[in-house]
């Protein structure tokens, strides 16, 4: 029982947005979907939300094709920058419309979030600021009675306080109704605490997918003299994902996931690499677990 994307390809004119991308979203898990601008995050979510039509590939929910199947589409909602309502509609009218369309829409939570974000229910959507419009779109998504919720850039234009409130709102919505939530964002640090799994895509392909809490056994930063670090990594069978030179020493991101073998190798390698920095380190070499943002940034930047 999951939402699986298999070999999805989508091109806009001559440019490839998704290149045979495959990923699976399990039920009741909060995912982070990361990647650079143009990596294909929004296109992937658009295809899942039936708003974009993939050139090839399959999107399957619980074993059945999702596209154009209303029974399954009712279980999926994508909140992105495209609000389906007319810009002249007030926030309260939008919420009333949602409740009218689906009696299971969590109107109570919606009103609570409107107050928490400091939005006026009588405010006309088109006159809201960029951040307020983002809040309005996302809070509607959070209150939708679906099994799979996709939030595309939920913090666009939000100040630090509201970004924090948004994270809390996601968690609150999850507490009220268990579901899969996929958050596509560049604000990795903000959401890192509530994510269970992370998916990193680049140039239309999935390059990594892992349990966030297993990051310590998934990758490490080794800092020390260049030749010693390289020799250690080679001797332990670790792949050097990225190297930053700092004078005579280097900061090397190492892991068992290779950018050259993106699909499928991750889970096996995590097990194999478990505890790979627990052994004795050479003199002058320090090791630490990278935070999620550092890992994603360095993993992706190496590829460009």
């Amino acid at each position: 029982m999951s939402l699986s994307v298999t070999a999805l390809t989508k091109q806009y004119g001559g440019s490839t947005a998704l290149n045979r991308l495959s990923v699976t979203f399990e039920p009741n898990v909060i995912y982070g979907l990361f990647g650079r601008n143009g990596a294909g995050k929004s296109t992937l979510l658009g295809c899942i939300g039936n708003r974009l039509i993939p050139d090839t590939g399959r999107i399957v929910l619980d074993g059945e094709p999702l596209a154009e199947c209303e029974r399954l589409m009712a279980r999926v909602y994508l909140a992105n920058e495209r609000l389906p309502w007319w810009d002249g509609v007030t926030l309260s009218a939008m919420l009333a419309d949602c409740a009218h369309m689906d009696g299971r829409f969590d109107l109570g939570l919606a009103r609570e979030l409107v107050a928490r974000f400091g939005l006026s229910p009588d405010a006309v959507y088109g006159r809201l600021s960029l951040g307020q419009r983002t809040m309005a779109r996302m809070l509607i998504g959070l209150c939708m009675p679906v099994d799979y919720l996709f939030l595309d850039e939920p913090t666009t234009g939000l100040d630090p306080v509201n970004r924090r409130l948004m994270v809390e709102a996601v968690l609150e919505a999850y507490r009220r109704r268990s579901r899969t939530i996929v958050i596509a964002t560049h604000e990795i640090a903000e959401f890192a605490d509530i994510l269970e799994r992370a998916v990193i895509i680049d140039q239309g392909r999935r390059i990594d997918s892992f349990e966030v809490q297993d990051l310590c056994s998934h990758a490490a930063l080794l800092v020390g003299p260049s030749d010693v670090v390289r020799a250690y990594a080679a001797g332990r069978g670790l792949r050097v994902l990225d190297v930053e030179h700092r004078g005579d020493s280097v900061s090397a991101l190492v892991g068992m996931v290779s950018a050259s073998e993106p699909e499928g190798g991750a889970s096996a390698s995590v097990a194999a690499s478990s505890g790979f920095i627990t052994g004795g380190l050479p003199d002058g070499v320090r090791a630490r677990t990278p935070d999620l943002q550092t890992y994603m940034t360095r993993l992706v930047q190496r590829r460009h």
């Binding site: 806009y12 039920p27 009741n28 909060i30 601008n37 929004s42 296109t43 658009g46 939300g49 039936n50 708003r51 974009l52 039509i53 154009e68 199947c69 209303e70 029974r71 399954l72 589409m73 009712a74 279980r75 999926v76 909602y77 994508l78 992105n80 920058e81 495209r82 389906p84 309502w85 009218h100 369309m101 689906d102 299971r104 960029l130 009675p145 679906v146 099994d147 595309d152 850039e153 666009t156 234009g157 968690l171 999850y174 507490r175 109704r177 268990s178 579901r179 509530i194 269970e196």
Partner: protein
């Protein structure tokens, strides 16, 4: 994290999601149906008012056209705007493209039927109040309302060829024919509008402007480029499709019109436009906007 673990497995049970999406589609479509009827009535009133003012001012002669053209044009425009604008909302709410097309198809039929009924009522009122002096100002114009179906409805021989030339016209309006004829015209207009709306969405602004420019040039050059023989054939075909197929002489009560070609045309045009709309919407997308890049 712990809280989330406890909440796992609660899940969501659906209660007729397909019915839900159809209801959402109809929620939107109902607004457009209401708008289509309002727009048609406004067109009707505006036209009559303009004609009345023209009569009052004297000397201003309204162009000799059928009121039905106005209604068809307004219905076509309403349907085109509906098909162009409704897609984004519905697709974002999980409604399938198939449901969007079929809902609008049904909505077009509702608009045509409602406006047909309104027009029939107007025709009845026109006849009832025609002797009221104040109404006389509008009489000239009012008589032109749906003139063609109005004419059709006066002729008792419209359905049967057996009566031939010998049948005697009866001085009695057949309201069913009037309503059916108006319905057929408006349905065709609405279906063409739906297709044009889908086409405009696919072509986007630049494509629409280019298409309009091409259409304008073709219309200008039609008389010069197309031989008169072909033009005559096209005119005869259009006349036949509109039911102006007569056995008698002239366009009076002696003529034997037939409603069947019009109804047949309605079916064919609706099927063609429905198919074209489906082919266009099948690949229609809501692409990520610029805001996402911010």
């Amino acid at each position: 994290m712990g809280d989330r673990g406890l909440l796992r497995g609660v899940g969501i049970r659906g209660d007729g999601p397909a019915r839900r999406t159809r209801r959402i589609a109809w929620m939107r479509e109902r607004r457009w149906i209401a708008m289509g009827v309002v727009v048609a009535v406004v067109a009707l009133v505006l036209d009559m008012l303009l004609a009345g003012v023209g009569h009052l001012l004297g000397g201003i002669v309204a162009p000799d056209h059928d009121m039905l053209y106005w209604l068809c044009s307004f219905t076509l425009a309403t349907s085109a705007v509906a098909s162009w604008s409704m897609f984004r909302f519905l697709i974002c709410q999980g409604v399938s493209r198939r449901t969007i097309v079929t809902t609008q198809f049904a909505g077009n039929a509702c608009i045509a039927a409602a406006v047909g009924a309104v027009l029939t009522v107007v025709a009845v009122v026109d006849i009832v109040v025609i002797r009221v002096p104040a109404w006389q100002i509008f009489v000239g114009r009012a008589e032109m309302i749906a003139r063609y179906p109005y004419t059709l409805s006066w002729n008792p021989r419209y359905l049967s060829d057996e009566f031939g030339r010998t049948a005697v016209p009866m001085p009695r309006i057949n309201w069913l024919v009037l309503t059916l004829a108006v319905f057929a015209f408006l349905m065709m207009a609405a279906m063409i509008g739906q297709t044009l709306g889908e086409l405009a969405a696919r072509l986007q602004v630049r494509g629409v402007l280019a298409a309009l420019a091409v259409a304008f040039v073709v219309a200008l050059l039609y008389g010069r480029l197309v031989p008169s023989g072909i033009r005559d054939t096209v005119d005869r075909l259009l006349a036949f499709m509109m039911g102006v197929y007569q056995r008698g002489v002239g366009m009076g009560r002696e003529s034997a019109y037939s409603l069947w070609p019009l109804l047949g045309s309605m079916v064919v045009v609706s099927l063609l436009c429905g198919t074209a709309s489906w082919l266009l919407i099948r690949r229609r997308e809501v692409r990520p906007g610029i805001e996402a890049m911010a």
